[in-house]
Amino acid sequence: MSAEPICGADMVIKALVDQGVDVVFGYPGGAVLPIYDSLFKQNAVRHILVRQEGGAVHAAEGYARSTGKVGVVLVTSGPGATNAVTGLTDALMDSVPIVCLTGQVPTHLIGNDAFQEADTTGITRPCTKHNYLIKDVNDLARIMHEAFYVAKSGRPGPVVVDLPKDVLFALGNYIGPEQVTHKTYRPQTKPDPARIAEAVKMIAAAKKPLFYGGGGLINSGPEACARFTEFVRLVDAPCTLTLMGLGALPASDPHFLGMVGMHGMYESNMAMHDCDVMIAVGSRFDDRVTGRLNAFSPGSKKIHVDIDPSSINKNVRVDLPLIGDCNEVLDALLKAWRKASPHSDGKARNAWWRQIDAWRARDCLRYDRGRRDLIKPQYALERLYALTRERDPFITTEVGQHQMWAAQFFRFDKPYHWMTSGGLGTMGYGLPAAVGVQVAHPDALVIDVAGEASILMNIQEMSTIAQYRLPVKAFILNNQYMGMVRQWQELLHGGRYSESYTAALPDFVKLADAFGAAGRRVERPDELDDAIMQMIAEPRAVILDVVVDQEENCFPMIPSGAAHNEMLLGPADKAEQPVSEEGMVLV
């Protein structure tokens, strides 16, 4: 207990410091002025001023996903809070630990439709893991510490703390984090030992095992990823990863099949369809992964490792749930496996690997290089990967075709290097996320692989990039279309490209210049390498506007409503398999 009572705003900062927070992404306003005043008087917490509150949340997400720490956001009441809603929903869907502090009108005005009042806890209830409205300054320190605990424990997620202005001025007693334990919230992290033994038996008996890892591994941390890799190698089974899980197993490992799902690798999806034991670790059987549910991996027994019991049997019925933290579960599995040192059916396993090699030989990412004067988006990403891989870059993306191509063509050997909006699919995520990543890793190469449509959704963050001299590189695949929308219109709506073409785009080179960044536009494949090298060498931020083939579609693809073994590998496949009516209504 601190001897002297302090004001609520000072308590907020003190709690942030005690929680180990070194940076906050925010935007000031009337209701949070006391906190900004307290920020002004100290040096422990750095504040990054974004240009719109939506950007603040994505920046905090980028920070959190590239460090494993909690991302912190500070915004004002009313519009400050409502602008944060998309980012909060994004963080909820992708299980990103965020603490978002929102200002609120003074308690006596709550409910009076006061200036810049919004029912923030009401609005954010369905898009946060938990939220609080603090009405008494003596609850403030406890709730701040609880908010961090809730955000990072169990399945991580965003937590909103709504702070009325009078509470920020009021004097009260501060308590430190060591004095706070949450009354009820104790997520189960250790698995049931009996089930571990059963899992070992199931995996050992498998003729065609497959690991299916997800974002839960990344959230569990580098140790969990290392243990996962060790276990995959020990079992000697193929492994696929979800979009959110890329980097959990080194892409260079021969067990890695590539990403699974709608735009995943042919070998991953075929293996998922045909395996006899599936070991899902920190993945959630999302509809982008499963395809048509009644045709999903029909012959397999499924083991599901997840920290969130509500993930079990949500979409797909599993045979053996293992509730717990990935790291703890994998530790237990490794120990049990070593102790049992089971013998697997070598002949069957060899046959399984031969089958996988046959699928790999289809070379599903192959594409037609086309005209010599036209850049294919796949080629642009191949070159970007080839020329940057040595530098261990951090990649963020926006949402759409470019995102899927980036997931296909970049190969991540470590966790925390791939930041993308998976669950919510938020266009405009990548640029502010890159801000957060660059703030966390000032000397690293941070690239936002973007589409020209997505990046315009949060282009104002170029101003943030300028203010803090962040050397973020925006690599725009510019096809002048909302590419994924265009692709679906081509495949499902008779090529009627309704509103998916942007008739008036900015000159991105001038736009870069206006924000003090370097800009370059490339239109020919033979200019590309030089432009990428120049981008890497440039100490300032860069917008590289890569003009690509407007008609290119993203393959391979499981059409909506189709099964894993009904993948389209390229444009030639599409005529054979019309999308079903049930498939049409899916997103």
Binding site: K129, T184, Y185, S310, N313
Partner: protein, 170 residues
């Protein structure tokens, strides 16, 4: 978990922190995820620990019911979730206030039926009664149906509350 697509009715008891917004969280979960609520009751049951008990009657396939329980359990202010339908025998009760207006034979008949159903008269005028009745929801339904032709005016019901039989604690 039984592998079935049959929908069944379940009574779920939830012990929660009595804090602002907790009921909204529970209701929002049901509406947001498209689950049914047949009835929902809530009241504080432990003042010293500030705990409330919510009783929800819902219906769904075994997979949906499992989801409902898992989703409820992961709400931060939720202490415990019990499926009273699945976990051994339990007692369920509901209370209703039933207003019936009429004269003559209909009025006498309503009083006679109330007596058979062990409903109490809690308000009376020369041309109306308010009956108070406690029992299973089915019993209440049956009584209300009988009152319909006798001058039923309006009904107010509490929704189901339930508790496990035996000495065990929640």
């Amino acid at each position: 978990m039984p592998d079935s697509d049959t929908t069944a009715r379940h009574t779920i008891a939830v012990l929660v922190d009595n804090e602002p917004g907790v009921l909204a969280r529970v209701i929002g979960l049901f509406s947001g995820r498209g689950y049914n609520i047949e009835s929902l009751t809530v009241a504080e049951v432990d003042r010293s620990n500030s705990l409330s008990r919510i009783t929800i009657v819902t219906s769904g396939t075994p997979m949906i019911i499992e989801q409902i329980k898992a989703q409820l359990s992961r709400l931060v202010p939720v202490h415990k979730v019990h499926d009273l339908t699945d976990e051994g025998p339990s007692v369920e009760r509901e209370m209703a206030l039933i207003k019936v207006a009429g004269k003559g034979e209909a009025r006498i008949e309503s009083l006679r039926l109330a007596d058979i159903f062990r409903a109490r008269v809690v308000d009376s005028t020369t041309d109306s009664f308010v009956f108070e009745m406690t029992g299973s929801s089915e019993k209440l339904n049956a009584f209300i149906a009988l009152m319909e032709p006798l001058g039923l005016v309006e009904v107010s019901r509490t929704g189901t509350v339930a508790i496990a039989r035996g000495s065990g604690q929640f």
